[in-house]
Amino acid sequence: MSGLDRLIAKSLESTIRENLGEQTYEKLGRRLFERHGIGFTQAVEDFGKLDSVLREFFGGGAEGIEKQIIDKIVILEESKRMDKKWITIEDQSLARLILESLGDEDKKNIINSVIDEPRIISDMLEISKIPQTSGYRKINTLIQNGMLVPQGFSTTHDGKKVTKYKSVFENISIEIEKNKVIVKVQPTQESIKNSHIMQIVCSH
C-alpha cells in the first residue's frame, strides 16, 4: 500500500460516514467483509477494495464519492505539469501529522536524507547522525504514518536484501494565513503513480 494512501486513509472513514450516512456505511462495511473478508478500516487503507465495493453500489457515481471525500482532505492545485503538482492538505489532523514529523529535528533530518534518493535505514541513520535506538523508532513511525515509502532493495555484503525507503514528498511548504496553518506538499512522481487515491485526485 502506498504511503500517500496510508496518509490520506486516516481521514477517510469519518468523511464516508458523514456523506453517505450511517446505514450506508454499515451496508458497505458488511459487503466489504463479505467480499474481501476485511473490515471497513482496513478497506479504507486498501483503497482498491473500497473502490470496487463503491462501484458495485454506485456505478460511475463512485468516482464522485471518492472525489468528494478526497477534496475534504486534499486540494490539488492547477498546474500544467502533472509531475509537479502541489497538494494543499485540508484535513487538519493530517496537516498536524506532517507538521509533527517536521517539528521533530531527527524526523526532519531523516526525511531530508531520503528526499532525493531512496536509502536503507542504516544509511538514513548515518546521514542524519541519529542514535540507532531512537532512530529506528522514529523511522518506524514515519513509515507507519506514510511519510516514508519503500522503494527498491539494496543487497548487503552478506547477501541479504534490505528495503530502501524514500520520502513520499519532494517538497513541503508551510504557510500561515491568519490563524490557519496551511500545509502544501508536492508528492514524488512514484508516489502519485503508486497511489490509487492520488490517481483519482489527479484525474479530475
Binding site: R17, E18, N19, L20, G21, E22, Q23, T24, K27, R31, E34, R35, R55, E56, F57, F58, G59, G60, G61, A62, E63, G64, I65, K67, Q68, H204
Partner: protein, 267 residues
C-alpha cells in the same frame, strides 16, 4: 454418532457481484391497477357524478401521498447524511405538495370556483424545484464533472420539449395569457426534471443504485408525458378529473414509489 445436518454441510456462497433486478410484474401490476381504476370510473354514466369526482380525487391524492411517504422513509433512513437525507426529504416534500394540491383542486371544484389557475397550481409547480434539488444534490455529489457533450444534451432536451410546446400552443391560440404561461411552467418544470432523471440514471447505471434511478427516470418520464398532455388539455379547457391523463400521473407516482422502495432495499 454426531451427524452434520444439511445446513452445516453447505457453505454459504458469497456472490462475487451483488445483483438487483427490476420486477416487471410490479410494473404490470401498477399499469393494470390504474387501467382498471380508469374503467371503473367510466362505468359511471355521468362523469359529473360526485362519487366519480371523489373517487378520482382520492386516487389523485393517494398516489403522490404514497410516493411522498416512501421518500420520507428513505430520507429518515439517511437522516444524518448530507446528500441522501436532504435530497430525499426534498423529493418527499415535492410529492406531498402534489397530494395537497389535489385536495385543494377538489375543494375549488366542489365550491364551483375555477380550480386552475389557483393556489393548487403553485403547489403542483413547487414539486419541480424540490425534485430538481433532489436530482442536482445527488448528481453533483456523485458526478461532479460532467462532459460538455452530456451537459449540452441535458440542456437541449428541455429546450426542445418547451420549444415544441410553445410554438404549437402559441400557433394555435395566438395569445400569451395566464393559461399559456401556466402550461409553459409545467412543461419547463417537467422537462427539466426529466432531463435530470435521465442523467441520474446514466450516472448510476453500472451500479446497484442504477436500478432505482432507472425506475425513477421511468416514473418521471410518465409524469412528464402527463404534465405535457395536461398543459395542452388545460388550454382547450378539456381537462376533467376522469380524463385518461390521470392514468399517467397515478402510474408515474406509483412507479416513483417503487423506485424508492428499491433504493431502500439496496442501501
Amino acid at each position: 454418532m454426531f451427524r452434520l445436518t444439511k445446513s452445516h454441510d453447505k457453505h454459504e456462497i458469497v456472490p462475487e457481484k451483488l445483483e438487483e433486478k427490476i420486477n416487471y410484474k410490479i410494473f404490470g401490476l401498477i399499469f393494470a391497477a390504474v387501467i382498471v381504476f380508469q374503467f371503473y370510473l367510466y362505468t359511471y354514466k355521468n362523469p359529473d357524478d360526485p362519487q366519480v369526482q371523489l373517487n378520482a380525487t382520492l386516487a389523485d391524492f393517494i398516489t403522490p401521498l404514497v410516493a411522498g411517504i416512501a421518500a420520507l422513509f428513505v430520507s429518515k433512513r439517511y437522516w444524518n447524511s448530507e446528500v441522501f437525507g436532504k435530497s430525499y426529504l426534498a423529493l418527499a416534500l415535492g410529492m406531498l405538495m402534489n397530494a395537497l394540491a389535489e385536495i385543494i383542486y377538489y375543494i375549488y371544484e366542489q365550491q364551483g370556483q375555477t380550480p386552475s389557475p389557483s393556489i393548487a397550481d403553485w403547489l403542483w409547480l413547487s414539486f419541480y424545484p424540490l425534485a430538481f434539488y433532489h436530482l442536482v444534490k445527488n448528481i453533483a455529489f456523485f458526478k461532479p464533472k460532467i462532459s460538455k457533450m452530456v451537459k449540452s444534451l441535458v440542456i437541449l432536451l428541455p429546450i426542445c420539449i418547451t420549444g415544441v410546446y410553445a410554438v404549437l400552443e402559441y400557433g394555435q391560440e395566438q395569445a400569451a395569457d395566464t393559461v399559456f404561461f401556466l402550461g409553459l411552467a409545467y412543461v419547463v418544470g417537467s422537462s427539466v426534471i426529466l432531463s435530470g432523471a435521465i442523467l441520474g440514471a446514466m450516472v448510476f447505471r453500472q451500479g446497484l443504485l442504477g436500478i432505482p434511478w432507472f425506475i425513477l427516470a421511468v416514473g418521471i418520464v410518465i409524469l412528464t408525458v402527463g404534465d405535457n398532455w395536461y398543459s395542452y388539455l388545460d388550454i382547450y379547457d378539456q381537462y376533467t378529473l376522469t380524463h385518461p391523463v390521470n392514468l399517467l400521473w397515478y402510474a408515474g407516482y406509483l412507479v416513483t414509489a417503487y423506485s424508492l422502495y428499491k433504493h431502500k432495499k439496496i442501501l
